[in-house]
């Protein structure tokens, strides 16, 4: 018998999981076994993904999931390689559990959870197989089955597993838009009839777990934005995040870094509207905020993309001070020059203030070993920008559609989508 709470192991964003979290102590005061589980999750490969059907095991599972996400948000940034790692691992975990439950005769439970996110219709079986008014040739259904078996490398199959590979459902392709957007699904790979993709239960588990992966990345983003509001994340979370970062596969790290910021340069085409406005120079009312607060934090975090440890000192993430001088401070000073009137002309001391906000203390000559003399300020959230410097906030369609809450989220998300779009 499976407890109703068990669905939380398949959908960590469902009500059952949320209830468990609400009834638990804060995540930063979790016992060691939950902390260990949060870190170990990124290394799971098979049976360890399966959760026992008792409430304590389910609670530990859910809490460790949230701890993992918050840990990553504490030491990296939206759509970072850590965020990608945990979202991919979460996808694999959910998928594995669904395969396992189906095999053990609990397919209905999986279906119940999936139906909360994906609307399904069943193929009509009779003399002919139909989806709505369209008759689907049986040969095509066999081909879909065989292709799926081949994709999973299965040559011989037993009666328990086979039903997972038989086309059974129709799903509206437009409902899969979030997966298409993140290139976690490809339209040309679906067998589309009358607006619906014909899929097997196996596909269904895959699609659902991909949905959870997308939501995991979105959750990491929301936590990152919360940390931007409240300041430094709790120590326990940063410890978890650092441990997860250290487990990042080196080849993935290399590939991601190369893909994300070729040559380590800033990508102005992915800047949000507020930063573009600030870069163009602004009037005297908002100059200080635009230059010292927004551009200084945004450009430094965007350029350095600190991950792997909590971002206290810029010097922990760069090896050469020229990155600060030439790639971060220089464009800030140019933007300041474009202000009306030019910012540093009447307030030359503000030049040192830029370095102060980057964490080098009040100086005009930053040195790597001086990093940490002052606080490295995080990028303010959109709500704060709108309140403190309203003319800077002119949201575009990307801001609105993605419900962006922090300029850095905009930047990293745009890069991530450009990358996945280009990846084909």
């Amino acid at each position: 018998m499976i407890a109703p709470e068990y669905v939380a192991t398949l959908d960590p964003f469902g009500d059952e999981a949320k209830n468990l979290v609400e009834k638990s102590p804060p995540l930063d005061s979790m016992p060691q076994e939950i902390v260990d589980r949060a870190i170990a999750r990124v290394k799971w490969s098979s049976r360890e993904m399966v959760v026992e059907s008792d409430i304590e095991a389910v609670r530990a599972e859910v809490l460790s999931f949230y701890l993992m996400c918050q840990g990553v948000a504490a030491v990296s940034y939206p759509y970072s390689r850590e965020a990608r790692l945990i979202s991919d691992m979460t996808k694999n975990t959910i998928k594995y559990r669904m395969y396992d439950l189906f095999k053990r005769g609990h397919g209905d439970l999986c279906l119940e959870v999936v139906k909360r996110s994906i609307k399904l219709v069943e193929l009509e079986e009779g003399d002919v197989v139909k989806l709505g008014s369209v008759e689907i040739p049986r040969e095509d259904l066999y081909k879909i089955r065989d292709r799926r078996l081949a994709e999973d490398g299965i040559e011989t199959i037993d009666d328990r597993l086979l039903p997972q590979y038989l086309p059974k459902y129709g799903v509206r392709w437009t409902d899969l838009a979030p997966l298409l957007r993140h290139r976690r699904a490809e339209l040309t790979k679906f067998y589309l009839v009358n607006g619906r993709a014909v899929i097997t239960p196996r596909d269904l588990w895959n699609l659902f777990s991909a949905f959870i992966a997308v939501r995991t990345e979105e959750y990491v983003t929301s936590v990152y934005e919360r940390f931007s509001d409240v300041g430094a994340p709790p120590k326990r979370l940063t410890e978890v995040g650092e441990s997860i970062s250290s487990l990042l596969p080196p080849e993935l790290e290399l590939r991601e870094r190369f893909a994300r910021v070729p040559g380590g340069k800033l990508r102005p085409e992915a800047f949000p509207p507020c930063v573009k406005i600030a870069m163009g120079g602004v009037g005297s009312g908002v100059r200080n905020y635009a230059i010292t607060v927004l551009l200084t934090s945004f450009l430094s975090y965007a350029r350095v993309s600190p991950s792997g440890r909590v971002a206290n000192r810029i010097g922990d993430f760069i090896k050469d001070i020229s990155v600060v001088r030439d790639e971060i401070a220089a464009p800030i000073f140019e933007a300041a020059e474009r202000c009306k009137p030019p910012f540093f002309k009447d307030q030359p001391q503000e030049k040192a203030n830029v370095y102060y906000h980057l964490g080098f203390g009040m100086t005009a000559e930053p040195r790597l070993d001086g990093s940490g003399k002052s606080k490295w300020y995080r990028c303010p959230n959109c709500s704060k920008i709108a309140m403190s410097a309203a003319p800077l906030c002119d949201p575009d369609e990307f801001c609105r559609n993605r419900k962006i809450k922090n300029p850095l989220t905009y930047y990293f998300r745009k890069l991530s989508e450009q990358r996945s779009g280009a990846g084909g």
């Binding site: 838009a177 067998y191 009358n194 607006g195 989508e417």
Partner: protein
């Protein structure tokens, strides 16, 4: 049919005497105040953007007063179209421009059009719309003649909020722009791909084939000599037979397929489809470059170019 540029006087005559608000399609009329309008006033390009009209009468007044060279309206709906702010949603649009078709049986050079290549654009538009109906389950699909080709505009609510990446995938699907894992299935993308590939292959001639990487002259001649059999093989999803007929090795065959797929993709300007803020020629307006009416086409099978001739052209020719 000769396609001459309209004079300023002819434009004036068209908008004063011939333009009728009843020729505006409903999907534009009902959302008029939410669209951005753009104008090319003198033939130098649509530089007058960010216009909003609250009523069709105001639009008419503008057209009659300014007699623009070209008129455009956005595929997007906005809260504030005059500032292009507050994006709400966008039609899914395809631009099939006869002048840019990758293969033309008429021999028009790139950038030129004739009745035959406009007809080829028409056929492609019909194919694309069929796929959107049967495979993608879209229903609110309209065609407009753009002056040099056709626009397909889809206004189903389910797709209007799609963004660039999803729209890119729709373009790939509809054009046959990706080689599928299985080309033999009766329905779905497999079928779309076979149809597109067959159309493209049918349109190839020696000159065009010579541009495919890795194809020696002897292979090209073999493929052309066996064109009918090759086409039959493609239609049946037996792509390996195509390779055998041409005597192509695996690597050359792959390059050849990539070449065909690229030609498939070039049947439409993908940039138009993925751009959610695009402006397109307003159906009912005048394409002054060719003196043709841009118009809604209710029956693509029966569309004739004569339907798009403004009165001043008949007067000019009589």
């Amino acid at each position: 049919m000769k396609m001459h540029e309209a004079t300023p006087e002819e434009r004036k005559q068209f908008y004063s005497e011939e333009w009728n608000k009843r020729e505006l399609p409903d999907f534009i009329l009902h959302t008029l105040s939410l669209r951005e309008f753009g104008f090319d006033l003198d033939g130098t390009g649509p530089s007058h953007r960010y216009n909003q009209f609250m009523t069709v009468e105001k639009l008419m007044e503008y057209l009659q007063n300014r007699a623009p060279y070209s008129v455009f309206a956005s595929v997007a709906l906005y809260d504030q179209p005059s500032m292009r702010k507050g994006w709400l949603k966008s039609e899914l649009a395809f631009d099939i421009d006869a002048k840019d078709l990758p293969l033309k049986s008429c021999g028009c050079t790139s950038g030129k059009v004739c009745e035959r290549c406009i007809d080829e654009a028409r056929r492609i538009a019909i194919e694309f719309a069929d796929t959107m109906r049967t495979d993608l389950g879209l229903h609110n699909i309209v065609f407009s003649y753009s002056g040099r080709g056709f626009h397909i505009r889809v206004t189903d609510d389910t797709i209007m909020t799609l963004e660039q990446t999803e729209r890119t995938q729709v373009v790939e699907y509809v054009t046959g722009g990706v080689i599928p894992t299985d080309v033999t299935m009766a329905l779905g993308y497999s079928q779309v791909f076979r149809e597109r590939l067959a159309r493209t292959f049918k349109g190839l001639d020696e000159q065009r084939l010579s541009k495919a990487r890795g194809l020696r002259k002897s292979i090209i001649q073999k493929l052309l000599a066996e064109k009918e059999r090759a086409l039959e093989a493609i239609r049946r999803g037996k792509l390996n037979e195509l390779s055998t007929l041409g005597g192509l090795g695996p690597k050359t065959f792959r390059q050849f397929l990539d070449f065909l797929v690229r030609l498939n993709s070039e049947c439409t300007d993908g940039k138009v489809t993925i751009d959610t803020k695009r402006i397109l020629r307003l159906p009912s307006s005048l394409h002054s470059g060719v003196s043709m009416k841009c118009m809604l086409v209710r029956d693509m099978e029966r569309f004739k170019l004569e339907d798009a001739l403004p009165k001043f052209v008949s007067e000019r020719e009589s």
